[in-house]
Subunit: 462 residues, 2 copies
């Protein structure tokens, strides 16, 4: 039977938006080690987490048994405003490369937040509203997560306070304005609104702040009020769960045309996009039903998977969060300036870490200038100006397609295009001016980071 | 028979992208008066235009007989990368307003140029390539048109030089970088690369430039080379023709669900978006087949339709272009600062002008702060951050929906959402800070502008 011709963009109908998320955690044969309460070094219980996170998110976080979890109708209604996202056949890129490979990308940037972050922001805002909370709070660096949460909070009528790393809020005033337009209160961190902020300001007057400090401020705000909770945009299991909507839609769209990917590529920062993209495909691989090659791509300047250690570490540099066992460069690791703000994270989702540890996937680290080279080629052929983060995946997809040209293999490559680069033009300017450089950490840089990994019994046993 | 339920977003398939544009010019019973050669005051011939524009665009410009004109397959291939654009049912906005009206919008911002401008940029770049030209040139103010043309030029392998008003290029460096990423050469105007630029620089050293000056530079560049032509992003008939793809898709999508609009609303700057959106619907109205109410929305700060004169005038402030009979405030009119850069134009498409003159449509002028109020409400309910230009149409759509609430009428309202506001955050900041003001021209301001309308016999006769 003749195959149906594949359009440039495969759109599922709104009825085909998944009705359930896919819980990769339940599919994994060996589960990742539990989060630890830093005070007791015992596995975190729901009660440990309750002052910080919404109840339903905690339940999802700790759920290792249900492979499918219902998506509430209220969340699906919001999803209908911007989902299903298109699965694009990169005909123009294939032609430009002269490759026999078929390249597909799942494009998550077609919404005002400009990235996949909205998928979890909506879910977390909904659960906060459902619990009767009045407000939520979070931190943001580059601003994508803060923007996504602003949109979700406006929709559900929640007050939102975003602690934005001060230097980012000064360098990216436009992102700040998008959040304000959606009604969020944006506070440059460190601020005088919290104990943590005041302490830092006293010690380091004039500091530009850090993500660690912004997290501390947001968590302090959440735990000091009964009607407020903290929400996080990556790393945690329930965020990966929400992002599985990416993989589920991609799988359904490919199956409509009888296409089976040979390779799935995604960029890895905290791991939520990558984990969500691969989720249902990886579930099948674990069950022995496919032989897909999974590739996580990280910046050479922040190589947690390729050069990090698998150990218990804090999720933040202020060392106030629970300990997660993950691939980490140490919470004190200082990545060199790299414009892919969303990938400048010392650790990695415990789910993705465990999959990597067990050999279900491989990881590649790529240099920034090569990433922007790929971004430019992609923009000029496929039309879409990609985010620097997403362009890490584009780089490897192009490299693999070129290999196919050499070997003649007709591989089917799927990659995640997580977002657009409209707010990253300073980085593009540096590239256009020929002023972009790569800085790869030396072994000494890494040793300094590793020295900040906590010296606890669990890390000795592993 | 029960009506099919209407989804949030109606996507046509790629096969349903129109195969022909709709030429409103052919449908009009009374044609608009011809362009005049400013040297002879005689109607422009194809030969007059040939040194400036591509041959095929000139042919389309002068075509008043063919109601449908084929879209070449190469252009349709490019369209497939970002079209069909979604027709969205604004369920969330309807709910927020509590209106019995049905609101739909055709969203043209879902591409990297961020606006409908790409529809004509692709066509004009294609025709330049087909004619064997090596390069094209244009001017840009706010940058949307320049960005669209950069994308099209990259795709077809044409060299592009964009003359960007100097003050814009300094205020909007990010737009400039998008164009550079697509390989365009962006020259701040006035520049020393042309006679016109050098003259202005000598007369007014340190000037921030103007659109009129940038047009002069681009046209000079085009006419001084056999392998280069000038392209324009609005006003002209062939641009309106290319933009008819918006209206054709909107009509097809509505018909699929048996929906007939009662009112179509669009913002009017040069008129290409509005003309394109209404084209096939207006064709039917002229033929007596529907009674749709058409509403063009312009900024109160630049009210060419509502307060202008219907007269022959230059299309640019440097007075080098042909004369067009249109609603105009005079090419020397200086609109007060208004962030909707795309609507700060003294004139109006001759097609739209003639339709307005004959009473086929009405026009409304709205104030900037009210426009941003609507933009904010739209962003918070519908998720999309709209461009200031597009928000003029949103303002009137909301006003009309509120009227329906009062009267109980279940009107079907369609409006054009031409683009996104990601590069307009300076304007949003002003609004968020409560620092935005409205400046409406006084009768004296208008008189000053009218005084620059040329004193030629044709203007006396009309």
């Amino acid at each position: 039977m003749a195959k149906k011709p594949i359009p440039y963009k495969i759109y599922l109908s709104e009825d085909e938006i998944p009705k359930q998320w896919y819980n990769l955690n339940a599919a994994m044969k060996r589960k990742h080690d539990p989060f630890l309460n830093p005070a007791t070094l015992q596995p975190c219980t729901a009660d440990d987490l309750r002052p910080v996170f919404c109840d339903e998110c905690i339940e999802q976080e700790l759920d290792r048994t249900h492979e499918y979890i219902d998506i509430p109708e209220e969340i699906r209604s919001f999803y209908k405003m911007y989902r299903p996202s298109p699965l694009v056949r990169a005909y123009c890129l294939e032609k430009a490369l002269g490759t026999p490979a078929e390249i597909y990308y799942k494009f998550e940037g077609n919404n005002t937040s400009g990235s996949h972050k909205l998928n979890s922001a909506v879910a977390q805002a909904y659960y906060a509203k459902k619990q009767g909370l009045k407000s939520i709070t979070t931190e943001t660096g580059a601003g994508q997560w803060g923007t996504a949460l602003s949109m979700a909070s406006a929709y559900f009528g929640l007050d939102l306070t975003v602690y934005m790393v001060k230097v980012s809020s000064e360098q990216k005033p436009h992102r700040r304005e998008v959040m304000r337009t959606y009604g969020a209160k944006v506070v440059a961190s460190p601020s005088d609104t919290t104990e943590a902020g005041r302490k830092i300001l006293k010690e380091f007057p004039g500091t530009g702040g850090s993500l660690g400090c912004a997290i501390s401020e947001a968590v302090e705000r959440a735990v000091s009020s009964d009607s407020c909770r903290y929400v996080l945009g990556s790393v945690l299991d329930h965020v990966v769960l929400h992002q599985s909507v990416i993989g589920l839609e991609a799988k359904a769209a490919l199956e409509k045309y009888g296409v089976q990917p040979d390779m799935i590529i995604g960029c890895c920062g905290g791991g939520s996009n990558f984990g969500g993209l691969i989720a249902p495909f990886m579930g099948e691989k674990i069950a022995g039903k496919n032989g897909i090659e999974f590739v996580g791509v990280e910046p050479a300047s922040c190589p947690s998977l390729t050069r990090g250690r698998y150990a218990y570490d804090f999720c933040d540099s202020a060392k106030i969060t629970p300990l997660a066992r993950m691939y980490t460069l140490g919470s004190g690791f200082m990545p060199s300036p790299n414009h892919a703000g969303g990938l400048r994270y010392h650790g990695m989702s415990p789910i993705v870490s465990e999959l990597y540890h067990e050999g279900y996937m491989r990881a590649v680290a790529v240099e920034q200038t090569k990433v922007f080279e790929a971004a430019e080629q992609f923009a000029r052929t496929e039309g879409i100006l990609p985010a620097p983060e997403s362009s890490h995946a584009i780089r490897v997809a192009i490299d693999e397609a070129i290999k196919c040209k050499e070997t003649g293999e007709k591989k089917v490559i799927l990659f995640g295009l997580t977002g657009t680069g409209y707010f990253d033009m300073t980085a593009y300017k540096q590239y256009n001016d020929g002023a972009m450089t790569d800085r790869i950490p030396t072994d000494e840089d890494l040793a300094q980071g590793f020295a900040t990994i906590p010296d606890i019994p669990q890390n000795k046993e592993n």
